[in-house]
Amino acid sequence: MTTTPTATAPPEAPPLRRTRRSKETVLAWGFLAPSIVVFALFLAYPLGRTVYLSMHGNDIIGRPSRFVGFSHFAEMASPEFGQVLLTTLLFTLGTVVPGVAGALAIVLLLEGVIRGQRLLRGAFALPFAFSVASASVIFVVFYSSGNSVLNGILYRVGLSQVPWLTSQEMALWSVCITTVWMNLGYGVLVLAAGIGSIPKEINEAARIDGATGVRLARDVTVPMLGPQLFFLIVISTINALQGFGQIHILTRGGPSGSTTTLVYSIFEEAFAYSTSDFGRASAQALVLLLVVLVCTAIQFGSIERKVHYA
């Protein structure tokens, strides 16, 4: 923009400048318009609508019918909703930690493999190509309480049977295993790309100094992978908080609600069973938004400070 108007400006200048300025303003708005429209349509409007819906009860076909204030939020102060949040937390930890650690372990181990490294990397990255639905359906067969493939293997090797999806204690971990398997491919891809971009001189310098194996990995490779690891942690946390398909296909939130995460609870309120309770679902969706925001803020605040950007 034109800046610093001076007191000694010539008297005829302002009108001219004003027309130029207004032309520029119009032009600026013209350029901004598409993104403003998109932003308003796909971000501001849905958010506003969610807030509006969260404060309304619904009639039987799902239309907001009466104002209920914050009562949907007040209802969330219940042991049931606490359980949902706890399940969400466990699911997040149970998928992010092993997912990122597993991908890192695979990539580091593959560093030691010379022949066929690319092939192996490709193989480990393969789960990335599976859709959530197809991966989950495969695990349904593995876990099936009727005739489980995994239990069949356990039986052959003489181990006891596992109630993969039918016990309240086990079901969540079974869903986590599926999710970790699904996410592993992406993690391997990102970290393998990251390792490839570490300058050779750094590794060589470290080797000359005598660093090998674990030492090299711990003190050189892993710190150099900081940005990729940070990215993976943030992305897989958000993915975990939004995970839905595998839960829907494997357990439908059961047994007895033991795999009902926040997203699944929102789905149940809004779309499952007899009623379309968009009010409660919207209120929970706002809580989810808050949780994602807080998690991401914490990660940026705490972990990112330790990330070394080469």
């Binding site: 923009m1 303003t25 039987i60 019918s65 039918t166 059961g254 007895s256 069973y273 007899s274």
Partner: protein, 466 residues
């Protein structure tokens, strides 16, 4: 001065958002012009310039969808230039109902829609459809050949509200080979829970290490079975005579009969006579067809698949009683057809009814029953050539027909009429599961499940008034 553009932007964004809210506020409700809420006569279809379009939303895919498409084609061919039905698969029953709710909001419902039994009360309350009874009364349509149990199930306040179409009833399936190996008579399968346990003790096979390789029993903890066990025990599922003398205000599945059934189930699992399946009926089917469970509970619709997938001889018996001496009713499951009147012309409504009549003929029902395994809504359908052929192939089906014929027609076998029936079934499953997978006694788990439903029922009943 320099901040003004930004302030403008905020204002513009707010304006657009506000506009969006207003627009969306206006888009709800309303319908497309004319509405027809009583049955129009056949004359409305005379002298048409072009065929009346009927969109038919249903939940039939795979084989069942193909059989349905075949019937639609046949009807269209017979009614060339007069009526054209277009079938549209809307996903499973839950999804289709959610889609229908959205369509009501937008005033764009399909002419004809298939809704599962759990949605019956909602369909009545939403007031969009022409009651089936009014077509029957207006045309003097003869309902005598229609299966009584089905009419009973979809009749509310003395009026048939929708047309039964894809319906089934559950049976107990047995592995006849396993029965013979265990020295049991496969021609007289167990009839109550105590007998199932006795048979299971003989049927359960262990390997040398004591690991069970064949369980006596294994079925899904499927909420429909709770409804079934209660109907067979002759107790209502919800109050006010199963919601038929007034709006239901609570569910009654903390009934001693249900508690007894769940405790029995728990005992079977604890003693390793039954495999714990969970809610997924696919898992129960796999347990049965793979030979891991020698007895299971499933819908009549699974008969064909069971015979195809198992390498043993499949037998069938009545769905078990909780205790010997129970009255032994039988409940229906599946969906019925609703003709939408709100926002639809007389021609569209009449054309839908013509199509429904076609579907209910003995010929169509013979095709439908033979192709899908659903009951023949029209009892004369069983005499059709396709149905006869199927009866020779699957003689086990006669058990289902006998079970229905033996069932008393009363409130308990008519099932519970309630707006939040789908939630009720889900809560029943959850209570059942809690009893099986935790230390909570069955009685407490079912009482808690029933209590949890009080708020949804209250809210539903209140919001009907909205």
């Amino acid at each position: 001065m320099r901040i003004s553009p930004r302030r403008h932007a905020v204002r513009a964004a707010a304006l657009i958002t506000g506009l969006g809210l207003v627009l969306s506020g206006c888009s709800g409700g309303g319908g497309g012009g004319e509405s027809t809420l009583t049955a129009p006569g056949a004359d409305v279809l005379e002298g048409l310039d072009e065929a009346v379009q009927v969109e038919f939303w249903h939940s039939m895919d795979a084989t069942n969808g193909q059989v349905l498409d075949g019937l639609i084609e046949e009807f269209n061919a017979q009614n060339e230039g007069r009526i054209e039905v277009t079938g549209s698969f809307q996903g499973d029953y839950d999804t289709a109902l959610a889609a229908h709710r959205a369509a009501i909001q937008q005033g764009e419902t399909a002419e004809l829609i298939m809704i599962f039994d759990l949605g019956t009360q909602f369909m009545i309350d939403s007031g969009q459809t022409v009651p089936a009874q009014s077509f029957i009364d207006a045309d003097g349509y003869d309902t005598d050949p229609i299966e009584d149990a089905l009419l009973n199930y979809f009749t509310v306040d003395g009026e048939l509200r929708s047309f039964p179409f894809n319906n089934s009833t559950p049976l107990m399936y047995i592995n006849r080979d396993a029965f013979e190996e265990a020295g049991l008579d496969p021609d007289s399968p167990p009839t109550d829970l105590a007998e199932i346990r006795e048979a299971a003790e003989e049927l359960t096979v262990r390997d040398d290490d004591g690991t069970v390789v064949q369980y006596g029993f294994g079925a899904a903890t499927y909420g429909w079975f709770v409804e079934q066990f209660m109907a067979r025990a002759g107790v209502p599922y919800c109050d006010n005579a199963n919601g038929r003398s007034g709006r239901a205000t609570e569910v009654l599945y903390d009934d001693p009969k249900v508690v007894e059934m769940i405790e029995w189930w728990q005992g079977m699992v604890d003693d390793e006579l039954a495999v714990h399946i969970g809610r997924n009926t696919d898992d129960a089917q796999a347990a049965f067809t793979s030979g891991r469970a020698a007895m299971t509970l499933e819908s009549t619709g699974s008969l064909g698949g069971f015979i195809e997938q198992s390498d043993f001889e499949v037998g069938a018996g009545y769905f078990p009683l909780v205790e010997a001496g129970d009255p032994g009713g039988s409940i229906i499951g599946g969906a019925s057809l609703w003709i939408n009147g709100e926002g639809h012309s007389e021609q569209e409504v009449r054309a839908s009814w013509e199509f429904v009549q076609f579907l209910l003929t003995p010929e169509s029902q013979s095709t439908w029953h033979a192709g899908t395994g659903y009951l023949s809504v029209n009892t004369e359908g069983y005499d059709g050539p396709e149905a006869q052929e199927r009866a020779e192939e699957f003689p086990q089906f006669s058990v289902a027909a006998a079970q229905l014929a033996d069932s008393e027609i009363n409130e308990n076998t008519a099932g519970c009429m309630m707006g939040v029936m789908a939630d009720a079934r889900a809560a029943a499953e959850e209570g059942w599961e809690t009893a099986l997978t935790s230390d909570t006694p069955a009685e407490d788990a079912m009482a808690e499940a029933a209590d949890r439903l009080n708020t949804p029922i209250e809210e539903y009943n209140a919001s009907v008034e909205d």
